[in-house]
């Protein structure tokens, strides 16, 4: 076997170094494009998924959501519970939220949204909404007559918004809006700020301080519709959930993944698209190697016949073609990885693709790249083997003299 491999490597090396340079470069270039395509699609999809997950956690769900169990509307004794949670290992920050539905009116135009009562300081430690203010400023803990609107509620004259037509359209920071709460009260607020996190479900919310919320629903004092927990990086949420569950019963827990219904269906669709495009790309890679090898063995049929006639083992000749296919695929792959990592990704970082949930940055994951590389190499080997196998089945005399 070693002798066969040695002769195969020798023949492959000579064919590559002394064969047609143009064909070799073109084949490598084709395989590089295919490999780049194979890196790009999952890179974009993984980037989009990472981006959407990040934005979901940082602006909408946090890492863990604690809610009252069953029909209960509120978690009681929230202050003491939050203190207990804060002291747990792996917990970075905690905030309580109360929510109520309301209608908001501005200059005769009306829209509905969820009003969220928050402690601005605590909420800022868990979420990044305060970092995405596009007009005005974020809430202060003592604010009473101010409201923070999501851009999909305010409109802010940004006509390109997904839900612009159903928004208040022309509201800007400093404007006054009237909020009609679902439980009856109606109150005028000054728009303190408008935020845009580029995640529609968050941008459809409005925020007031917990002080103001308690004035609307006095029963909400020391109570919360939910508690949101931010974990330290790489913390497993389950032990934290177990500890809270042991601390206080009658609570329900959700991780951020369980709130990602929309994202989940998007991720599934992306995954399917990725599979289809990958299959097409692997097919293109296979056909490229097949054609190159087929043309080569047809042109060298006589040489192959001579090699067999002088005693070169069929497996050596076959192996030499497989080594060449491996060389093309490996070189194309290596070039694709280098170009992707050092040219495409930095370029895309400067001009990212924008989705409804934010900018998606291309990423490379080792497992995805490794799986793609191995599959591409296997496809190249199979594609090269078929024409060589067919040629090796012809009689020596037929190979030499036709």
């Amino acid at each position: 076997m070693f002798k066969s491999l040695k002769v195969a490597a020798f023949l492959a090396f000579k064919a590559i170094t002394r064969g047609n340079l143009g064909i070799t470069l073109m084949t490598i270039f084709m395989l590089m494009l295919v490999a780049m395509n194979l890196l790009f699609v999952p890179g974009l999809i993984n980037g989009a998924i990472d981006s959407s997950n990040r934005i979901l956690i940082k602006t909408y769900s946090a890492d863990i959501i604690v809610e009252p169990e069953g029909e209960d509307q509120f978690i009681t004794n929230v202050d003491s519970l939050m203190k207990a949670i804060e002291s747990m290992d792996g917990v970075a920050a905690v905030t309580a939220r109360n929510t109520i539905n309301a209608k908001i009116t501005f200059e005769g135009k009306q829209t509905t949204c969820t009003i969220v009562g928050i402690d601005p300081k605590r909420d800022e430690e868990v979420f990044e909404i305060s970092q995405n203010i596009i007009e005005g400023t974020y809430l202060s803990p003592r604010d009473r007559n101010e409201i923070l609107l999501g851009v999909q509620v305010a409109g802010a004259d940004i006509k390109g918004l997904e839900l612009y037509s159903s928004s208040l359209q022309h509201v800007h920071a400093g404007d006054k809006v009237v909020v009609s709460y679902a439980n009856g009260p109606e109150k005028q607020y000054t728009v303190k700020g408008i935020f845009q996190v580029r995640f529609i479900q968050t941008d459809l919310q409005a925020f007031i301080t917990d002080l103001e919320f308690q004035s609307i629903i006095p029963a909400s004092r020391n109570r919360a519709s939910s508690i949101r927990i931010k974990l330290e990086p790489d913390t497993n949420p389950q032990p934290v959930i177990d500890r809270i569950d042991n601390l206080r019963g009658n609570l329900e827990f959700k991780t951020w993944e369980e709130t990602a219904g929309l994202m989940k269906s998007m991720t599934d669709s992306f995954f399917l698209i990725n599979q289809i495009l990958s299959m097409v790309n692997f097919l293109v890679a296979g056909i490229t190697v097949f054609i190159v090898t087929y043309v080569d063995v047809v042109n060298r049929k006589r040489q192959i016949g001579i090699q067999r006639a002088i005693g070169i083992k069929p497996q050596s000749i076959t192996l030499s073609y497989l080594i060449r296919a491996l060389f093309y695929a490996l070189t194309g792959l290596a070039l694709a990885i280098i170009v992707f990592k050092y040219v495409i990704i930095p370029l895309e970082m400067r001009h990212p693709f924008t989705f409804p949930f934010g900018a998606a940055y291309l990423t490379t994951k080792f497992t995805v790249t490794a799986r793609m590389s191995v599959t591409l190499l296997i496809v190249a080997l199979i594609a090269a083997y078929i024409p060589v196998y067919r040629t090796m089945r012809t009689r020596i005399l037929e190979a030499i003299w036709g």
């Binding site: 002798k3 000579k14 090699q307 006639a309 002088i310 005693g311 050596s316 005399l397």
Partner: protein, 228 residues
């Protein structure tokens, strides 16, 4: 060495069976310098290809040192070709991407052994056929006669028991032909390798100790030439 018994080869040309070899039987002794002669289409190249294990006869047997070789699997035939048989084709059958030296030592590499051994032997054989100064030349840089001598050197790399040469001078000028034939004679004389060559040129009889005359797929005469 070779014992050929009732060898036949039938080609199917369209629907018509054509007998290229018709019940051929003869023997070749070790160390012989034999020539197969005959008109074009007489079956001499077909016979050589059966003996060189490049093709399989329709019927009959070939015994090489008592071993029947026609029914062997291709891998075993490849091993026999590699170890015991050298073949020189009518056309210049060198590998274009390899230098003269590489062409010569390739079968040696396939057989195994140290790199230095088969590379050294490759050089020695190129010296032997008078091409010691051209070892790094590619086939396209060599004349027809030189290419044919490289092919002879290649056939010798694994110290075969027999060399088959299928009209080795068919495409060569007179001087090159003489050089190639003298190379074969000297190998037979000095290296003691058995040589069986095919020729349609009556002048080539003078190089052979035994001449087999073929016609219509049969051996019609066998002439000895004790002066060689």
């Amino acid at each position: 060495m070779f014992d050929i018994r009732n060898l036949s080869k039938v080609y199917i040309m369209g629907d018509v069976p054509v007998k290229a070899l018709d019940d051929v039987s003869f023997t070749i002794d070790t160390g012989d310098m034999a020539c197969i002669m005959g008109k074009s289409g007489s079956g001499k190249s077909t016979l050589l290809r059966q003996l060189g294990l490049l093709d399989q006869p329709t019927s009959g047997e070939i015994y090489l040192d008592g071993q029947e070789v026609t029914k062997l699997a291709e891998t075993a035939r490849a091993t026999l070709r590699l170890q015991h048989l050298g073949y020189v084709f009518q056309e210049y059958a060198l590998l274009a991407e390899l230098t003269a030296h590489e062409n010569v030592y390739l079968p040696g590499m396939m057989l195994g052994g140290k790199d230095t051994d088969y590379k050294r032997k490759g050089k020695e054989l190129l010296d032997l056929v008078g091409l010691g100064q051209r070892i790094h030349h590619y086939p396209r840089e060599l004349s027809g006669g030189e290419q044919q001598r490289v092919a002879i050197a290649r056939a010798l790399i694994n110290s075969p028991r027999v060399i088959f040469a299928d009209e080795p001078c068919a495409n060569l000028d007179t001087i090159s032909s003489k050089r190639v034939m003298e190379t074969l004679v000297s190998l037979n004389r000095d290296v003691k390798v058995t040589v069986l060559f095919v020729s349609h040129d009556p002048d080539d009889k003078k190089y052979a100790r035994n001449v087999l005359i073929m016609s219509d797929g049969k051996i019609v005469d066998r002439v000895s030439n004790p002066n060689v």
